[in-house]
């Protein structure tokens, strides 16, 4: 199956769009349906599709397990960091409007919310990918 040119080509064509859609969902989390979790899962599904088409080793080569760990932690640090930044500027945890940016309070809120969504998206994407990689190694015995 891995040699199938149709699957490979279709995946090659689809993966960028899946990832773009994931980014769209993540960045619209603050103002409409969607958000970090949903977007992160969609982003991870791009990797999973890649594994199905090209095999686990190819993905391992492109995205090392340490990168997965680093990304999942980075996402959480972004989230907690912004929360604590708000505390440092004198508001409550995640009280976004306290952060002094040269834009209006509402815009600051929106911006910070998007950063938090990006953080959540990163963690969800990394964890989903790592769960899938762990399971697929045991099933396929490729490692």
């Amino acid at each position: 199956m891995r040699e199938d040119v149709v699957i490979r080509t279709v995946c090659r064509a689809m993966i960028p769009f899946i990832q773009l859609f994931a980014l769209y969902v993540i960045l619209h989390g603050s103002s409409s349906a969607g958000g970090g979790f949903q977007g992160g899962v969609i982003f991870a599904s791009a990797f999973i599709l890649y594994v199905i088409a090209f095999g686990i080793m190819e993905v391992r080569r492109r995205m090392h397990e340490k990168v997965v760990v680093a990304l999942s932690s980075l996402g959480l640090y972004i989230y907690a960091g912004i929360g604590i930044l708000c505390i440092l500027f004198g508001a409550g945890f995640l009280g976004y409007s306290a952060i002094p940016l040269p834009v209006s309070a509402a815009e600051t809120r929106g911006l910070m919310m998007e950063f938090v969504e990006i953080g959540i998206g990163l963690t969800v994407m990394a964890v989903m990918t790592s769960i899938f990689m762990d399971i697929s190694v045991k099933e396929g015995g490729e490692d």
Partner: protein
């Protein structure tokens, strides 16, 4: 920073979980110190929070500066802080204990993950105790439960996996029930804040939807606390989990279920509702009484030490719910005191069981002959824990049973009084058998596995808990000074 303590106690372990993951990737040895320092910091934060609660009564915190009925509110009163201190103290000791004990029980490449999940579990249980929002409570309940399923199955061998899977299925069913209950409440009132719910619910007390929601809550929480007929996931999970995890489950995870039950029964619904409109307390008390007797009887029938302790946990959960179910000041005090009591003594006993397994590999009670001489300190901790389980003064076990018995007399429930006395005798039966093997039977010579006690990182938490059994029994006025106002405020209207 002082005004941010309620949220910091939750955020600290969350950050720590991923920091220990990153640290563990750099070098596997870093994971433990990061986790330990993290819980220590969190415990310090909780102590500072205690000071504030003592001064102010109730500490409130609005997440994201959204005002309460709309945003998530963290509320810390005396009950929260009491439970929080117990949970963090036990988590700290379990974490210290885990350093050496997981060596043989968990594969080395999983150690980093172990501490990450450990801290996520701590974050979850902390969140449950500080939140004042019912949906937030559900989210944290899920975080800690998912972490618990993973920890149960983290050991070597397939039995832990099966036990973890059973726990996962039962726990998810229970989570569904709780979520349905929350959904019904939200549908009915449009609010998720506990204080707000307590305010808007009274006119709806006769509504069938509310009754349905309540039944969902009771069933869901009964599975989480392993109340007798719904306890089937518990023995396997406690028996086949690594020793540290058994101690953590029986102390921290089970307490959080009990705490959630008390919160929902008395702070979301009120005494007026659970006694007057939907008389569930009598039913719960009877179930708890059956749990006490059945748990003790099943414990007598076990030959495996950890399994025996697991069944005795089913009985001990019964004590707490019996105290809560009798709905009077004395019994409630006894029930809440028993939360501390059970955490301390069962934590101690599971650590002792883990120490025996660590040193000799023996799990069966019959194999523990002559341990009193081979591992004197561990066996001493076992004796104190066992005495506290039976309820012999001056241990803390005596005090909580004393209050439960007084509560039963005040409620005029002579059957429950008999149950409490009978179960003390039954626990004397199964602990005496254990002590007899440990102290009065000669061990066969030349047992492999070495002699002497376990390493200090395992021994100290055990001895601290054993000492706590005695200290809290003698100076019982210290926890009682926290519990009395709690029991009074929970029972508010009666």
């Amino acid at each position: 920073m002082m005004e941010h303590l309620p949220v910091l106690v939750v955020i600290i372990p969350l950050i720590g979980a991923y920091t220990s993951l990153v640290g563990g990737w750099v070098d596997r040895r870093y994971a433990f110190p990061i986790a330990f320092i993290n819980i220590l910091t969190q415990f310090t934060a909780a102590l500072l929070l205690t000071v504030r609660v003592m001064q102010e009564g109730v500490v409130r915190y609005n997440l994201g500066d959204w005002l309460p009925p709309w945003g998530i509110e963290y509320v810390v009163d005396r009950l929260n802080i009491y439970v929080l201190l117990i949970l963090l103290f036990l988590s700290l000791l379990c974490c210290a204990y885990s350093k050496r004990s997981i060596g043989m029980e968990i594969e080395e490449r999983k150690h980093t993950g172990f501490y990450t999940i450990f801290l996520l579990l701590v974050a979850g249980v902390t969140g449950i105790t500080v939140t004042g929002d019912i949906f937030n409570l559900y989210v944290f309940l899920e975080i800690s439960s998912l972490a618990a399923y993973t920890l149960v199955s983290s050991g070597r061998g397939g039995k832990g996996l099966v036990a973890g899977f059973n726990y996962l299925v039962m726990g998810s069913v229970s989570a569904c029930f709780i979520l349905l209950g929350i959904g019904h409440l939200y549908m009915l009132t449009g609010t998720l804040n506990m204080a707000d719910l307590a305010r808007v619910l009274p006119p709806l007390y006769t509504s069938t939807t509310l009754h349905t929601a309540f039944v969902f809550f009771i069933v869901g929480l009964s599975i989480k606390t392993a109340l007798f007929p719904l306890h089937l996931w518990l023995p396997d999970a406690y028996t086949h989990a690594p020793s540290t995890v058994s101690a953590l489950l029986s102390t921290v995870v089970s307490k959080m279920g009990v705490y959630a039950t008390i919160r929902i029964l008395f702070s979301v619904f009120t005494v007026e509702f659970v006694v007057g409109y939907f008389p569930v307390m009598e039913f719960l008390s009877w179930l708890a009484a059956i749990a006490i007797i059945a748990g003790s009887l099943l414990a007598i029938a076990q030959r495996d030490l950890k399994r025996m302790l697991a069944y005795s946990s089913v009985g001990q959960m019964g004590y707490i719910l019996l105290g809560v179910g009798m709905v009077n000041q004395l019994a409630m005090t006894g029930g809440i005191l028993h939360m501390l009591n059970h955490a301390v003594m069962k934590g101690c006993l599971f650590m002792v069981a883990g120490a025996f397994i660590f040193r000799t590999g023996f799990r069966r009670i019959d194999d523990l002959k002559g341990m009193g001489k081979r591992m004197p300190w561990t066996s001493a901790a076992l004796v104190i824990g066992a005495l506290s389980m039976i309820g012999i003064p001056p241990t803390v076990g005596f005090m909580s049973k004393w209050y439960l018995a007084l509560g039963a007399i005040e409620a005029g429930q002579w059957v429950f009084l008999a149950v409490i006395l009978a179960s003390s005798l039954l626990s004397a039966v199964y602990f005496w058998r254990l002590l007899e093997y440990v102290y009065f039977r000669e061990g066969e010579g030349g047992v492999e596995g070495g002699t002497g006690d376990v390493p200090l990182p395992m021994l100290i938490p055990m001895l601290v808990l054993a000492a706590a059994c005695l200290l809290f029994g003698i100076f019982v006025s210290i926890p009682l000074s926290l519990i009395d106002p709690v029991a009074e405020s929970l029972l508010g209207g009666v």
